[in-house]
Amino acid sequence: MLTANNLECSRGDHKLFAGMNFSVKAGELMLVSGPNGSGKTSLLRLLCGLSVPDDGEICWDGINIRELGGDYRSVMTYLGHLGGIKDDLTAIENLRISCALAGCEIDEEQATDALRRMGLTGRETLPAKVLSQGQRRRVALARLLVTRTKLWILDEPLTALDVAAIELIKGMLEHNLSQGGMIVMTTHQELNVAAAATHQLVLS
Protein backbone atom coordinates (compact mmCIF):
# COMPACT_ATOMS: atom_id res chain seq x y z
CA MET A 1 0.00 0.00 0.00
CA LEU A 2 1.30 3.43 -0.93
CA THR A 3 0.36 6.24 1.45
CA ALA A 4 1.12 9.93 1.43
CA ASN A 5 0.82 11.86 4.69
CA ASN A 6 0.50 15.62 4.74
CA LEU A 7 2.65 16.03 1.62
CA GLU A 8 3.96 19.49 0.76
CA CYS A 9 5.90 20.50 -2.32
CA SER A 10 7.08 23.81 -3.72
CA ARG A 11 8.94 24.99 -6.76
CA GLY A 12 11.13 27.94 -5.80
CA ASP A 13 8.84 30.35 -3.91
CA HIS A 14 5.72 28.93 -5.48
CA LYS A 15 3.86 26.40 -3.35
CA LEU A 16 2.44 23.63 -5.56
CA PHE A 17 0.44 21.75 -2.94
CA ALA A 18 0.33 21.27 0.81
CA GLY A 19 -1.39 18.94 3.25
CA MET A 20 -1.98 16.26 0.65
CA ASN A 21 -3.13 12.85 1.92
CA PHE A 22 -4.03 9.75 -0.03
CA SER A 23 -3.49 6.03 -0.12
CA VAL A 24 -3.47 3.53 -2.96
CA LYS A 25 -4.17 -0.10 -2.13
CA ALA A 26 -3.62 -3.29 -4.10
CA GLY A 27 -5.63 -3.31 -7.33
CA GLU A 28 -6.34 0.41 -7.19
CA LEU A 29 -5.65 3.11 -9.71
CA MET A 30 -4.99 6.77 -9.02
CA LEU A 31 -5.37 9.28 -11.82
CA VAL A 32 -3.66 12.59 -11.22
CA SER A 33 -5.01 15.46 -13.25
CA GLY A 34 -4.72 19.21 -13.31
CA PRO A 35 -3.66 22.05 -15.60
CA ASN A 36 -0.08 22.47 -16.83
CA GLY A 37 2.25 23.54 -14.06
CA SER A 38 0.00 22.31 -11.27
CA GLY A 39 2.65 19.92 -9.99
CA LYS A 40 1.68 16.55 -11.47
CA THR A 41 5.18 15.60 -12.48
CA SER A 42 6.59 17.01 -9.22
CA LEU A 43 4.18 14.78 -7.29
CA LEU A 44 5.19 11.69 -9.26
CA ARG A 45 8.88 12.48 -8.76
CA LEU A 46 8.22 12.68 -5.02
CA LEU A 47 6.37 9.36 -5.10
CA CYS A 48 9.19 7.53 -6.82
CA GLY A 49 11.80 9.05 -4.54
CA LEU A 50 13.68 11.19 -7.06
CA SER A 51 13.04 14.32 -5.01
CA VAL A 52 12.31 14.94 -1.36
CA PRO A 53 9.07 16.57 -0.12
CA ASP A 54 9.31 19.85 1.82
CA ASP A 55 7.12 18.32 4.47
CA GLY A 56 5.25 15.07 5.13
CA GLU A 57 6.21 11.55 4.21
CA ILE A 58 5.52 8.84 1.66
CA CYS A 59 5.21 5.31 2.97
CA TRP A 60 5.20 1.91 1.33
CA ASP A 61 3.43 -0.65 3.54
CA GLY A 62 3.82 1.73 6.46
CA ILE A 63 7.56 2.36 6.12
CA ASN A 64 9.01 5.59 4.75
CA ILE A 65 10.39 5.08 1.24
CA ARG A 66 13.60 6.92 2.23
CA GLU A 67 14.34 4.13 4.71
CA LEU A 68 13.37 1.37 2.28
CA GLY A 69 15.71 2.63 -0.44
CA GLY A 70 16.56 -0.21 -2.83
CA ASP A 71 13.76 -2.42 -1.49
CA TYR A 72 11.21 0.17 -2.59
CA ARG A 73 12.89 0.77 -5.92
CA SER A 74 12.73 -2.95 -6.70
CA VAL A 75 8.91 -3.05 -6.43
CA MET A 76 8.36 0.21 -8.33
CA THR A 77 8.58 1.20 -11.99
CA TYR A 78 8.68 4.85 -12.98
CA LEU A 79 8.25 6.00 -16.55
CA GLY A 80 8.81 9.72 -16.99
CA HIS A 81 8.35 12.18 -19.84
CA LEU A 82 11.77 11.15 -21.05
CA GLY A 83 11.69 7.50 -21.88
CA GLY A 84 15.41 6.90 -21.44
CA ILE A 85 15.66 5.83 -25.07
CA LYS A 86 19.12 6.16 -26.66
CA ASP A 87 19.13 7.30 -30.30
CA ASP A 88 22.15 5.25 -31.23
CA LEU A 89 20.91 1.95 -29.84
CA THR A 90 18.40 -0.37 -31.48
CA ALA A 91 14.97 -0.96 -29.96
CA ILE A 92 16.07 -4.34 -28.59
CA GLU A 93 19.23 -2.93 -27.04
CA ASN A 94 17.27 -0.07 -25.50
CA LEU A 95 14.73 -2.41 -23.99
CA ARG A 96 17.30 -4.88 -22.67
CA ILE A 97 19.38 -2.16 -21.06
CA SER A 98 16.46 -0.40 -19.42
CA CYS A 99 15.25 -3.75 -18.08
CA ALA A 100 18.71 -4.59 -16.77
CA LEU A 101 18.79 -1.22 -15.02
CA ALA A 102 15.42 -2.00 -13.48
CA GLY A 103 16.90 -5.20 -12.11
CA CYS A 104 15.33 -7.80 -14.41
CA GLU A 105 17.65 -9.01 -17.11
CA ILE A 106 16.04 -10.40 -20.25
CA ASP A 107 17.51 -12.11 -23.27
CA GLU A 108 17.16 -11.08 -26.88
CA GLU A 109 14.20 -13.40 -27.51
CA GLN A 110 12.16 -11.99 -24.63
CA ALA A 111 12.95 -8.46 -25.77
CA THR A 112 11.89 -9.21 -29.35
CA ASP A 113 8.73 -10.83 -28.09
CA ALA A 114 7.84 -7.82 -25.91
CA LEU A 115 8.49 -5.39 -28.76
CA ARG A 116 6.31 -7.46 -31.12
CA ARG A 117 3.50 -7.41 -28.60
CA MET A 118 3.87 -3.62 -28.51
CA GLY A 119 3.26 -3.60 -32.27
CA LEU A 120 6.84 -2.95 -33.30
CA THR A 121 7.28 -6.02 -35.52
CA GLY A 122 10.04 -5.38 -38.04
CA ARG A 123 11.38 -2.39 -36.13
CA GLU A 124 13.26 -4.34 -33.47
CA THR A 125 16.72 -3.90 -34.93
CA LEU A 126 16.36 -0.33 -36.12
CA PRO A 127 18.24 2.39 -34.24
CA ALA A 128 15.84 4.43 -32.12
CA LYS A 129 16.66 7.64 -33.98
CA VAL A 130 14.75 6.48 -37.05
CA LEU A 131 11.64 5.61 -35.04
CA SER A 132 8.74 8.03 -34.73
CA GLN A 133 7.76 9.64 -31.40
CA GLY A 134 4.95 7.14 -30.92
CA GLN A 135 7.19 4.19 -31.70
CA ARG A 136 9.84 5.42 -29.26
CA ARG A 137 7.13 5.69 -26.64
CA ARG A 138 6.14 2.10 -27.38
CA VAL A 139 9.73 0.96 -26.87
CA ALA A 140 9.79 2.70 -23.49
CA LEU A 141 6.42 1.22 -22.50
CA ALA A 142 7.50 -2.28 -23.56
CA ARG A 143 9.37 -2.42 -20.26
CA LEU A 144 6.02 -2.66 -18.47
CA LEU A 145 5.36 -5.96 -20.26
CA VAL A 146 8.51 -7.50 -18.86
CA THR A 147 8.82 -6.13 -15.32
CA ARG A 148 7.14 -7.84 -12.40
CA THR A 149 6.93 -4.75 -10.21
CA LYS A 150 3.78 -4.01 -8.21
CA LEU A 151 3.67 -0.23 -8.26
CA TRP A 152 3.70 1.64 -11.56
CA ILE A 153 4.18 5.38 -11.58
CA LEU A 154 3.53 6.66 -15.08
CA ASP A 155 3.89 10.25 -16.22
CA GLU A 156 1.75 10.91 -19.30
CA PRO A 157 2.17 7.40 -20.71
CA LEU A 158 -0.32 8.02 -23.50
CA THR A 159 1.29 11.01 -25.22
CA ALA A 160 2.07 10.43 -28.90
CA LEU A 161 0.27 7.08 -28.92
CA ASP A 162 -2.40 6.13 -31.46
CA VAL A 163 -5.80 4.62 -30.62
CA ALA A 164 -4.63 1.02 -31.02
CA ALA A 165 -1.67 1.59 -28.73
CA ILE A 166 -3.85 3.25 -26.10
CA GLU A 167 -6.08 0.13 -26.10
CA LEU A 168 -2.95 -1.98 -25.66
CA ILE A 169 -1.75 0.11 -22.73
CA LYS A 170 -5.19 -0.05 -21.18
CA GLY A 171 -5.01 -3.84 -21.32
CA MET A 172 -1.57 -3.80 -19.69
CA LEU A 173 -2.77 -1.52 -16.90
CA GLU A 174 -5.81 -3.72 -16.27
CA HIS A 175 -3.64 -6.83 -16.22
CA ASN A 176 -1.32 -5.32 -13.60
CA LEU A 177 -4.26 -4.16 -11.48
CA SER A 178 -5.90 -7.59 -11.64
CA GLN A 179 -2.64 -9.10 -10.34
CA GLY A 180 -2.87 -6.91 -7.26
CA GLY A 181 -0.70 -4.12 -8.64
CA MET A 182 -1.09 -0.40 -8.07
CA ILE A 183 -0.89 2.40 -10.61
CA VAL A 184 -0.44 6.12 -10.17
CA MET A 185 -0.58 7.97 -13.45
CA THR A 186 -1.15 11.38 -14.96
CA THR A 187 -3.05 11.79 -18.18
CA HIS A 188 -4.95 14.42 -20.09
CA GLN A 189 -7.00 11.82 -21.93
CA GLU A 190 -10.14 10.03 -20.84
CA LEU A 191 -9.30 6.47 -19.96
CA ASN A 192 -11.69 3.88 -18.59
CA VAL A 193 -9.57 1.32 -16.83
CA ALA A 194 -11.30 -1.41 -14.85
CA ALA A 195 -9.89 -1.24 -11.33
CA ALA A 196 -10.90 -2.25 -7.81
CA ALA A 197 -11.16 1.47 -7.12
CA THR A 198 -10.22 4.53 -9.10
CA HIS A 199 -9.12 7.62 -7.21
CA GLN A 200 -9.14 10.97 -8.91
CA LEU A 201 -6.62 13.46 -7.60
CA VAL A 202 -7.13 16.92 -9.04
CA LEU A 203 -4.35 19.45 -8.56
CA SER A 204 -5.07 23.12 -9.03
Binding site: C48, G49, L50, S51, V52, G70, D71, R73, S74, M76, Y78, G80, H81, L82, G83, G84, I85, K86, D87, D88, L89, E93, I97, S98, A100, L101, A102, G103, E105, P127
Partner: protein, 219 residues
Protein backbone atom coordinates in the same frame (compact mmCIF):
# COMPACT_ATOMS: atom_id res chain seq x y z
CA UNK B 1 25.41 -4.81 -13.61
CA UNK B 2 28.69 -2.93 -13.97
CA UNK B 3 29.30 -5.07 -17.05
CA UNK B 4 25.97 -4.00 -18.57
CA UNK B 5 26.86 -0.33 -18.16
CA UNK B 6 30.36 -0.79 -19.55
CA UNK B 7 29.04 -2.80 -22.49
CA UNK B 8 26.41 -0.16 -23.23
CA UNK B 9 28.83 2.76 -23.02
CA UNK B 10 31.37 1.04 -25.22
CA UNK B 11 28.62 0.24 -27.73
CA UNK B 12 27.55 3.89 -27.73
CA UNK B 13 31.17 4.97 -28.17
CA UNK B 14 31.51 2.60 -31.13
CA UNK B 15 28.39 4.05 -32.74
CA UNK B 16 29.78 7.57 -32.24
CA UNK B 17 33.41 7.13 -33.05
CA UNK B 18 34.01 10.83 -33.62
CA UNK B 19 33.71 11.51 -29.88
CA UNK B 20 36.43 8.99 -29.08
CA UNK B 21 38.70 10.13 -31.87
CA UNK B 22 38.40 13.81 -30.86
CA UNK B 23 40.02 13.09 -27.50
CA UNK B 24 42.77 10.98 -29.01
CA UNK B 25 43.58 13.46 -31.79
CA UNK B 26 43.59 16.34 -29.33
CA UNK B 27 46.20 14.46 -27.30
CA UNK B 28 48.31 13.57 -30.34
CA UNK B 29 48.25 17.08 -31.76
CA UNK B 30 49.03 18.89 -28.51
CA UNK B 31 51.94 16.58 -27.75
CA UNK B 32 53.26 16.85 -31.31
CA UNK B 33 53.06 20.67 -31.43
CA UNK B 34 55.68 21.17 -28.71
CA UNK B 35 58.68 19.64 -30.53
CA UNK B 36 57.71 21.71 -33.59
CA UNK B 37 57.50 24.91 -31.56
CA UNK B 38 60.59 24.38 -29.43
CA UNK B 39 62.84 23.12 -32.24
CA UNK B 40 65.26 20.19 -32.26
CA UNK B 41 66.89 20.91 -28.91
CA UNK B 42 67.25 17.32 -27.71
CA UNK B 43 68.15 18.11 -24.11
CA UNK B 44 65.33 20.58 -23.72
CA UNK B 45 62.80 18.19 -25.28
CA UNK B 46 63.89 15.30 -23.07
CA UNK B 47 63.45 17.52 -20.04
CA UNK B 48 59.98 18.77 -20.88
CA UNK B 49 58.58 15.52 -22.29
CA UNK B 50 57.00 14.10 -19.11
CA UNK B 51 55.29 17.36 -18.21
CA UNK B 52 53.96 18.00 -21.71
CA UNK B 53 52.61 14.47 -22.18
CA UNK B 54 50.97 14.46 -18.77
CA UNK B 55 49.38 17.90 -19.11
CA UNK B 56 48.05 16.92 -22.53
CA UNK B 57 46.63 13.72 -21.02
CA UNK B 58 44.89 15.71 -18.25
CA UNK B 59 43.32 18.09 -20.74
CA UNK B 60 42.30 15.30 -23.12
CA UNK B 61 40.64 13.41 -20.30
CA UNK B 62 38.83 16.62 -19.24
CA UNK B 63 37.57 17.13 -22.76
CA UNK B 64 35.23 14.14 -22.57
CA UNK B 65 34.13 14.65 -18.95
CA UNK B 66 31.15 16.81 -19.86
CA UNK B 67 29.63 13.99 -21.86
CA UNK B 68 30.01 11.41 -19.09
CA UNK B 69 26.56 11.99 -17.58
CA UNK B 70 24.99 14.72 -19.71
CA UNK B 71 23.67 12.49 -22.50
CA UNK B 72 22.08 10.15 -19.95
CA UNK B 73 20.66 13.18 -18.18
CA UNK B 74 19.09 14.61 -21.31
CA UNK B 75 17.35 11.42 -22.46
CA UNK B 76 16.15 10.31 -19.01
CA UNK B 77 18.41 7.28 -18.59
CA UNK B 78 19.97 8.88 -15.53
CA UNK B 79 16.57 9.00 -13.82
CA UNK B 80 16.25 5.27 -14.44
CA UNK B 81 19.72 4.71 -13.00
CA UNK B 82 18.82 6.61 -9.85
CA UNK B 83 15.66 4.53 -9.52
CA UNK B 84 17.42 1.25 -10.15
CA UNK B 85 17.34 -1.25 -7.28
CA UNK B 86 21.04 -1.97 -7.81
CA UNK B 87 23.46 0.38 -6.10
CA UNK B 88 24.10 3.66 -7.84
CA UNK B 89 27.77 3.58 -6.82
CA UNK B 90 28.19 0.41 -8.84
CA UNK B 91 26.58 1.98 -11.89
CA UNK B 92 28.76 5.06 -11.51
CA UNK B 93 31.85 2.89 -11.23
CA UNK B 94 30.85 1.27 -14.52
CA UNK B 95 30.46 4.68 -16.16
CA UNK B 96 33.85 5.89 -14.90
CA UNK B 97 35.54 2.68 -16.07
CA UNK B 98 34.03 2.93 -19.52
CA UNK B 99 35.09 6.59 -19.68
CA UNK B 100 38.62 5.39 -18.95
CA UNK B 101 38.44 2.59 -21.54
CA UNK B 102 37.29 5.07 -24.16
CA UNK B 103 39.50 8.07 -23.35
CA UNK B 104 42.32 6.78 -21.13
CA UNK B 105 43.43 3.54 -22.74
CA UNK B 106 44.02 5.05 -26.22
CA UNK B 107 46.24 7.72 -24.61
CA UNK B 108 48.24 5.09 -22.75
CA UNK B 109 48.76 3.18 -25.99
CA UNK B 110 49.76 6.27 -27.97
CA UNK B 111 52.11 7.70 -25.33
CA UNK B 112 55.20 5.59 -26.12
CA UNK B 113 54.93 6.46 -29.82
CA UNK B 114 54.62 10.17 -29.06
CA UNK B 115 57.47 9.96 -26.54
CA UNK B 116 59.86 9.09 -29.35
CA UNK B 117 59.49 12.64 -30.67
CA UNK B 118 61.06 13.81 -27.42
CA UNK B 119 64.02 11.46 -27.71
CA UNK B 120 63.12 9.66 -24.50
CA UNK B 121 65.20 6.55 -23.70
CA UNK B 122 63.42 3.21 -23.74
CA UNK B 123 63.23 2.94 -19.98
CA UNK B 124 61.66 6.40 -19.68
CA UNK B 125 59.09 5.48 -22.35
CA UNK B 126 58.15 2.43 -20.33
CA UNK B 127 57.83 4.42 -17.13
CA UNK B 128 55.76 7.05 -18.94
CA UNK B 129 53.34 4.40 -20.20
CA UNK B 130 53.17 2.74 -16.81
CA UNK B 131 52.54 6.03 -15.01
CA UNK B 132 49.75 6.89 -17.47
CA UNK B 133 48.28 3.41 -17.02
CA UNK B 134 48.06 3.99 -13.27
CA UNK B 135 47.16 7.68 -13.48
CA UNK B 136 44.49 7.96 -16.19
CA UNK B 137 41.89 5.85 -14.32
CA UNK B 138 42.30 8.27 -11.40
CA UNK B 139 41.53 11.13 -13.80
CA UNK B 140 38.30 9.43 -14.91
CA UNK B 141 37.23 8.54 -11.38
CA UNK B 142 37.92 11.99 -9.90
CA UNK B 143 36.50 13.69 -12.98
CA UNK B 144 33.25 11.77 -12.50
CA UNK B 145 32.64 13.65 -9.24
CA UNK B 146 33.03 17.01 -10.99
CA UNK B 147 30.89 15.93 -13.93
CA UNK B 148 28.12 14.79 -11.54
CA UNK B 149 28.21 18.02 -9.53
CA UNK B 150 27.97 20.30 -12.56
CA UNK B 151 25.23 18.28 -14.26
CA UNK B 152 22.57 20.39 -15.90
CA UNK B 153 24.28 23.70 -15.10
CA UNK B 154 24.83 26.39 -17.67
CA UNK B 155 28.55 26.82 -18.32
CA UNK B 156 29.14 23.47 -16.64
CA UNK B 157 32.13 22.83 -18.90
CA UNK B 158 34.16 25.70 -17.45
CA UNK B 159 33.06 24.95 -13.92
CA UNK B 160 34.08 21.33 -14.20
CA UNK B 161 37.64 22.34 -15.16
CA UNK B 162 37.84 24.70 -12.19
CA UNK B 163 36.60 21.96 -9.88
CA UNK B 164 38.54 19.05 -11.20
CA UNK B 165 41.90 20.38 -12.43
CA UNK B 166 43.16 21.24 -8.91
CA UNK B 167 42.37 17.68 -7.86
CA UNK B 168 44.43 16.39 -10.79
CA UNK B 169 47.59 18.14 -9.54
CA UNK B 170 48.93 15.30 -7.34
CA UNK B 171 48.50 12.83 -10.20
CA UNK B 172 50.33 15.22 -12.54
CA UNK B 173 53.21 15.77 -10.11
CA UNK B 174 53.84 12.11 -9.40
CA UNK B 175 53.10 10.94 -12.93
CA UNK B 176 55.54 13.34 -14.54
CA UNK B 177 57.89 12.91 -11.55
CA UNK B 178 58.19 9.18 -12.20
CA UNK B 179 59.45 9.78 -15.72
CA UNK B 180 61.83 12.55 -14.60
CA UNK B 181 63.23 10.30 -11.87
CA UNK B 182 63.82 7.56 -14.42
CA UNK B 183 65.64 9.87 -16.89
CA UNK B 184 67.73 11.24 -14.00
CA UNK B 185 68.76 7.67 -13.19
CA UNK B 186 67.00 7.58 -9.83
CA UNK B 187 64.43 5.06 -8.66
CA UNK B 188 60.88 5.64 -9.82
CA UNK B 189 59.19 2.98 -7.69
CA UNK B 190 58.06 5.44 -5.05
CA UNK B 191 56.27 7.61 -7.61
CA UNK B 192 54.49 4.66 -9.13
CA UNK B 193 53.54 3.33 -5.69
CA UNK B 194 51.98 6.67 -4.85
CA UNK B 195 50.07 6.70 -8.15
CA UNK B 196 48.84 3.21 -7.30
CA UNK B 197 47.74 4.46 -3.90
CA UNK B 198 45.83 7.35 -5.53
CA UNK B 199 44.14 4.83 -7.79
CA UNK B 200 43.04 2.64 -4.88
CA UNK B 201 41.76 5.58 -2.84
CA UNK B 202 39.80 6.98 -5.77
CA UNK B 203 38.40 3.53 -6.63
CA UNK B 204 36.95 3.34 -3.13
CA UNK B 205 35.74 6.89 -2.60
CA UNK B 206 34.93 8.31 -6.02
CA UNK B 207 31.90 6.12 -6.91
CA UNK B 208 30.36 6.89 -3.56
CA UNK B 209 30.99 10.65 -3.84
CA UNK B 210 29.78 10.67 -7.46
CA UNK B 211 26.57 8.84 -6.54
CA UNK B 212 25.90 11.38 -3.77
CA UNK B 213 26.56 14.28 -6.17
CA UNK B 214 24.20 12.79 -8.74
CA UNK B 215 21.42 12.53 -6.18
CA UNK B 216 21.94 16.19 -5.27
CA UNK B 217 21.99 17.30 -8.91
CA UNK B 218 18.84 15.36 -9.78
CA UNK B 219 16.72 16.26 -6.72
Amino acid sequence: MILWIIKRDLLLAMRRRSDVLTTLFFFIIVVSLFPLGVGPEMNMLRMMAPGVVWVAALLASMLALGRMFSSDYVDGTLEQMLLSPVSLSGLVMGKALSHWLVTGVPLVLMAPVLGIQYDLPVEALMVLTLSLLLGTPVLSLVGAIGAALTLGLRGGGVLVSLLVLPLYIPVLIFGAGAVEASTAGMGFDAHLSLLGAFLLVSLVFSPWATAASLRISMA
